[in-house]
Every structure is written in C-alpha cells, then in structure tokens.
Symmetry: none
Subunit: 132 residues, 4 copies
Amino acid sequence: MRLRVDPTSPEPIFEQLVFRVKEAIAQGSLVGGDRLPSVRELARDASINPNTVARAYEALEAEGVIVRRQGSGCFVTEKGSSLATNERKRRLDALVQRLVTEGFHLGFGARELRDALAERLSATPLPPRRDS
Amino acid sequence: MRLRVDPTSPEPIFEQLVFRVKEAIAQGSLVGGDRLPSVRELARDASINPNTVARAYEALEAEGVIVRRQGSGCFVTEKGSSLATNERKRRLDALVQRLVTEGFHLGFGARELRDALAERLSATPLPPRRDS
Amino acid sequence: MRLRVDPTSPEPIFEQLVFRVKEAIAQGSLVGGDRLPSVRELARDASINPNTVARAYEALEAEGVIVRRQGSGCFVTEKGSSLATNERKRRLDALVQRLVTEGFHLGFGARELRDALAERLSATPLPPRRDS
Amino acid sequence: MRLRVDPTSPEPIFEQLVFRVKEAIAQGSLVGGDRLPSVRELARDASINPNTVARAYEALEAEGVIVRRQGSGCFVTEKGSSLATNERKRRLDALVQRLVTEGFHLGFGARELRDALAERLSATPLPPRRDS
DNA sequence: GTGGTCTAGACCACA
DNA sequence: GTGGTCTAGACCACG
C-alpha cells in the first residue's frame, strides 16, 4: 500500500489522499476490512505532516469509507453509501455532467467519452459490491 | 442567456460561473461568436460581486473558451483545445477515473455508470465540433 | 448569538460547539439562512483557538447543517437530512435506546421519561420543517 | 449472558461494553445479584483485549451498576442511582435534549419522537425498580 | 474581511 | 503502539 501525493498540485494534499484511497478501493486493491497505514507511518513515507494525514482519514470516515479505531488503526468499511437514493442520483448526474462538459472542451465527442469509460471499466473492473 | 449560481454550494462562485458557461457551450445553447453578458449585467442579474464575474471571465479566457475584446465584450471562441494530444488524453482519463471512483462509492456499478453517461449524451447531444 | 463551551468538560470543545449550534437550530433560535459568527470572532469570544472553531464548523458542514462560503461566512442550511430512510431510523432508535437505558439507571421510569420528553417538546416546540 | 461489541463503531469498545450491560439491566435480562462473566471469559468470547473488559467493569463499578468482589466475580447491584435529585434531573434533561436535537436534525418531528419512545417502552418494558 | 490549508508540537485516550 | 484534541502561527484563496 503506497500512497503518493503531489505537494505542488493546487488540489489540497488531504484531498489527494482521500481520492487515492477511494481509488484504491474502487480498483479492488483495498477491500473491506483492510487496514490503512497508520497516520504517523503514512506521514513519514509521504513527507507530510501527520495532521494532514489525520485530516484525510477524518474526511474518509465522515464519508463512511473507513472507520478509525483508537489504538488499532484505520480500516476500510464494508458498507455502501448511506445517502438517500435521490441524493445519490443527483451526485451521479453532476459527475456525468462534469465529464461530458470538460470532455467536450478537451475536444472529445460522445463516442470517445463512452469509449474512454468503457475502456476504464474493462481495464480494471469495479470490485463486487457487498451490500450492507 | 441566463446564468445561475448556487451561493450555498461549496464550489467557489467564480468556478460555478466558469462551468455554467462551458456547460452552455457543450449543450449548444452558446455557440462560437456569441456574446456573453457584460460583467456588470451578469453581476446584477445573479446578485454576485462584479469582481467575481470578472474573475470567471478571466479564467475562461485563460482556458481559451472566450475572448475579451476591449469595449465590445466577451465572445465565445470557435477553436478547440490547444493542448497537446497526450495532455488531453491524460485529462480525460482523470475525469473518467473521477466518475468511476466517486460513482462506485455512491453505490453505482459499471452498467449504471455507462447508462448514466449514455442517457446524458442522448438527452442533450454534444454540438458538432468545428476543429481549430 | 452567543455560544458557550466548557473547557473542563470531557466532551471535546469542538463537539460542544457542534451540539450548541444544532440545539439552537432545533429550538428555532437559528433558522435557515442565518449567518453564524465568523471563525475568528467566535474564537475570540469563547477564548478558544480559531482552528477548534473551524473544526466544529467543518463537522457541521459535513453533516449538512451549515454551509461555509469563503469570503462570506457560514450559514445555516435549509435542507433536511440526506441520509437514507433506514439509516435515519436506525440512528433514531439508538438515540431512544440511549435515553431509556441511561434514564432507567438514573432511576426514572417509563412515565417519567415520556413526561420529560413531552415537557421538553411543549416548552420549546420544534421549528416547522421546510422539506428540501 | 452474551455481550456483543462492534469493533467498527467509532464508540470505544469499553464504552460499548458498559452500555451493553446497562442495556441488559434496563431490559430485565440482567437483574440485581446476577453474576457477570469473568474478565478473561468475556474477553475470549468477544475477541477483545482483557484490559478493555477490565476497564469497562471498572467504569461500571464507579457508576455503582456492579460490584467487584475479590475472587468471586462481578455482580449486578440492586441499588438505584446515588446521585442527588437535581443532578439526576439535570442529566435526564440533557439526554432528552440530545434526543430532541439529534432527532430533529435527522428529520423527525415531535410526534415521531414521542412515538419512537412509546414504542420502545412498550416493546420491552422497564423492569420494576427496587429502590435502594 | 471571510474561510481553507498546512506545519509543528504538546498532551490525552484507547487497546 | 494506535488515533484524537488542542494550540500556535504562517500563508493562500474567495468575494
């Protein structure tokens, strides 16, 4: 488990960490029950402040992605989103709209967008979902 | 041309404006050569600070989406992205990865992601592209 | 708007602040759209570190109770919980079970618990709910 | 007597144990004089650290819920709360306020809160009280 | 002015 | 050892 961040990016370091962890889960390289590196360990490895790591872990817990247990460490959750269905749909639509709009301005058409998504999904299939 | 922003959103207002304009273009409701509302006009209509509008227009110009002509206003450009092909591809992949990762954590699977994209693309097809 | 905390309490200061704000909303003394004191202002008034206030506000935003807007301040949200129905029910049951168990060990019986709740609800009725 | 804890909960394990015991008493499944499982036994059954169990028992004894007798084990006490009446009332009010405030933010109204409490109390009535 | 991020370092709580 | 809280202070981003 190796998490890298780019301190020169405009994206906050803690958000980069959050996304890296979610990515690892969505790729199946982290699964429910797995333990994340400890705050101090990750801080040392990535040369960032422990508070910054703690903040990322805190955000991940708030999203329900991990749980933090005093004395033991941080663990990937098994359960799915606890949001209401319409809220989930709303957020998905926003993500799709983001992809379509930015993709268009990058010069990609409908077919290329669909292909890029299909390619990503077949290259690294989403892990099976264990409903809570 | 009516641009709305949500002041309660965590997304900065100027970024919302930037995205709204890009969205309008990706939906064909704004096309190359169209004139955007003036800074003061838009600021009044949307009840936001003129500085905020100016900043959004600045960002749009930096991206090459609009041009600002002294005294006559801001106009949508006709040209496509000026980025190199590999950079464009890299950004597209990041967008797709964002959709897949966040979508997965919202509880959506591969099929649902593809469907959501296909639905969006057929509901409001992308306008034809005039390559630069 | 005066928020007080007890630095000697075992309950973390930021959690005390979170609860005070939620209390004020549940009592109708803060309503949707109201602005909270600024981070620095509250920190000065309550003699605590601005980071601690910021953390409380961050938690409140994560819960969807307030929104934070750079440059403008923090505002009470109008919308209700975005959690799924079964999650909401589960949390309510846990709260009720907490009241019943702890109340019993304090020496209160069923009637006294019901009366205490009824009294609280009639003393300061819950504000009307504006569904999102 | 089977006590379960959820290691993934943010609530400390020893506090969960404390609450489980108090819950069992408030449901009548443990009554005055009953013996609790030994520290080692419970630690094995629940797969937790004996120190954690010991700490929970310590907290229960401090609250006057159980007594620990050298060599014979821990026993549920028969006596009620030893707190002064106004302190008991103050704590009850805090519990009620907690329920009302959090319940409101979960989207529940006065009627639903009263109903949830009434339902809980009729589903598993509180055991008769033997005042100290 | 507002909030947001990051660092540094102290001290506490849990297992 | 683990995570959790709090302080202090620097610097950036938004309106």
